[in-house]
Symmetry: C2
Subunit: 342 residues, 2 copies
């Protein structure tokens, strides 16, 4: 994931072996939920929906607009613009390896990719469809989708739930294995530069990996449980003020529970060098600065510049191999359009 | 071409054999200019640029946003929205087979794809970059582009001219052969339905093909010359009023020459069923209505409904086979972003 590096609550946990947290190579595929098994047809339907701007009110945005698969799975912007050009509330997180996250969205408000995937379609500052009946009605006007849903889910199956299932199935294929880090973990000790190896040691010694552990560097809880952390832990410093890191209260905006103020999902580190700018508000423009901010805001540590450099080298080594994706042919509406002009 | 069907100036020219205009199957590839030969590397560079939203000021739009290769090479909107959500002046024409057009843009103001391709990048109601020095400066910050331009054009070669050349090279591969119409022209008489065959006869008898001739149905002049036509020829009817077809003065907006008022490039018919809504202002929502409008506005002919249906069947038979295109990996700027937030 993009844009936030949540380090450890405590600088000292790493000293004790019982607090050691594992870093592991990326599995070939994520966990597949029993009620949404993968199939070639379902993945293809999900891919088609993912690239279809007709899921936005005026046809200006597809999922891929803000979670761009030609880039790091986001848009390299602080916040994305909506279908009509208005600023969104938080930075677009990467879609790559999102299937390894145990909860979805910055505030972890959805437990599954299925539930996440349908959210932006009806968000007024994202794709802007008024409601799901309208989405379903529009897709029913596109004969190719009727055929595709029929094949995958049975007759009369264009529903919010099945749109989410198809999109989630496609997203579970968006996995980037074989990064220098993964090669290193598989035994190729030359895959990481000395700098990156020092960085790898540092993130464990400093305590970053207490939270950023596991194959996705986003914690090791079970699917649906989520891995959460307070951010910033140390709010009284110049970084927190400069980058407005206390404005958004995170999970509190969902639960309204006082203890959830400034609680956030632990984001992934994978491909993080591709997803500047950083943090939930996209306020930090560079990865080196993001590392400095995290060390200070989470651990009250002032890293030395050579330490920052080494950690950045390690984080960059998580950039994986991206699967080849052919652009889908979107099913047409012959001689007419189904999108709104505004 | 999207959205306009410019029929004949004269209903009667088609009666005389010397005025007969040829319909022909699509060649395998368009004319390649001598000063911009195709190469695998150049086409790949052009494809990469085509999909790169960093060519827009705030990273929200790539060429593909408005000329979507997953669709009919446009966006199925009357007019596209700019990088910040403002409406553009005219409807996005299709990029498919644009290499067969002998002049570019609705008003034919550019003679080559090379010159056309760089226009939208610095158009304030399109991608909104302030000027080309800024575009070049931004691309120079992306190491992968420096390498790619070096290989294709030599050292220090990121220039407006070479950006146009690379984009044009890619666009010359965006060809859709093998439509039912093309199969028919190659001798498979079963490729067209009886309805489409009647439509094919009709467009010739009624006179549409006096302008919409040649392999691209956009006239037969030489590359760079352009095929132009007045539209509407008969302005005094309800269609012209209803669809505001006299507001935009077409080529006059470029040349300021009185005779160029309401003169337009003859657009292609290929894949026209995929590119609703129609005409330069996108005001006509359906293909059948576009056929009625053209017959009345250009020929003062009121087509019967069965004639409209047959012509639509024929026009739909020009939908071709689309090449498979793999999404490019856009070269990254590690740990930083190069797009503006606004």
């Amino acid at each position: 994931m993009k844009k936030a590096l949540i380090l450890s609550l405590s600088f000292y946990t790493c000293i004790y072996p019982q607090f050691a947290h594992a870093l592991t190579a990326l599995p070939k595929s994520p966990e597949i939920p029993k009620d949404n098994p993968q199939s070639v047809e379902k993945i293809n339907l999900g891919k088609t929906l993912y690239f279809d701007p007709r899921l936005s009110k005026n046809g200006m945005l597809s999922c891929n607009s803000c979670h761009n698969l030609a880039l790091g799975g986001d848009d390299n912007r602080a916040v994305s613009l909506s279908f009509k050009g208005e600023k969104g509330g938080r930075s677009s997180p990467t879609v790559w390896n999102s299937a390894f996250h145990t909860t979805q969205f910055w505030d972890g408000r959805e437990k599954s990719l299925e539930a996440q995937a349908v959210g932006p379609i009806v968000n007024p500052v994202e794709m802007g469809m008024p409601d799901f009946p309208t989405v379903v009605e529009r897709l029913k006007k596109i004969p190719g989708y009727v055929t595709m849903f029929d094949k995958v889910f049975g007759k009369n199956s264009i529903t919010k739930e099945n749109i989410g299932k198809a999109l989630a199935s496609f997203e579970r294929t968006l996995v980037t294995p074989n990064s220098p880090f993964d090669q290193y973990m598989h035994g190729n000790k030359k895959a990481l530069s000395p700098e990156a190896q020092r960085g790898m040691k540092l993130v464990q010694e400093v305590g970053c990996t207490v939270c950023h552990s596991g194959a996705n560097f986003s914690g090791e809880n079970k699917m649906g449980e989520g891995n959460f952390q307070k951010f910033p832990v140390y709010p009284d410093n110049d970084y927190v003020k400069k980058y407005n890191l206390m404005v958004d209260t995170g999970r509190f905006t969902v639960t309204n529970v006082e203890d959830d103020k400034h609680i956030w999902r632990v984001p992934t580190w994978r491909n993080i060098a591709l997803t500047a700018p950083y943090f939930h508000n996209g306020s930090v423009k560079t990865l080196d600065e993001a590392v400095r901010v995290m060390a200070k805001a989470q651990l009250n540590v002032d890293l030395k510049e050579n330490q920052v450099k080494d950690i950045v080298a390690f984080l960059t080594s998580t950039t994986g191999t991206f699967p080849k994706i052919e652009i889908p042919r979107l099913p047409p509406t012959l001689g007419e359009t189904v999108v709104d002009e505004d």
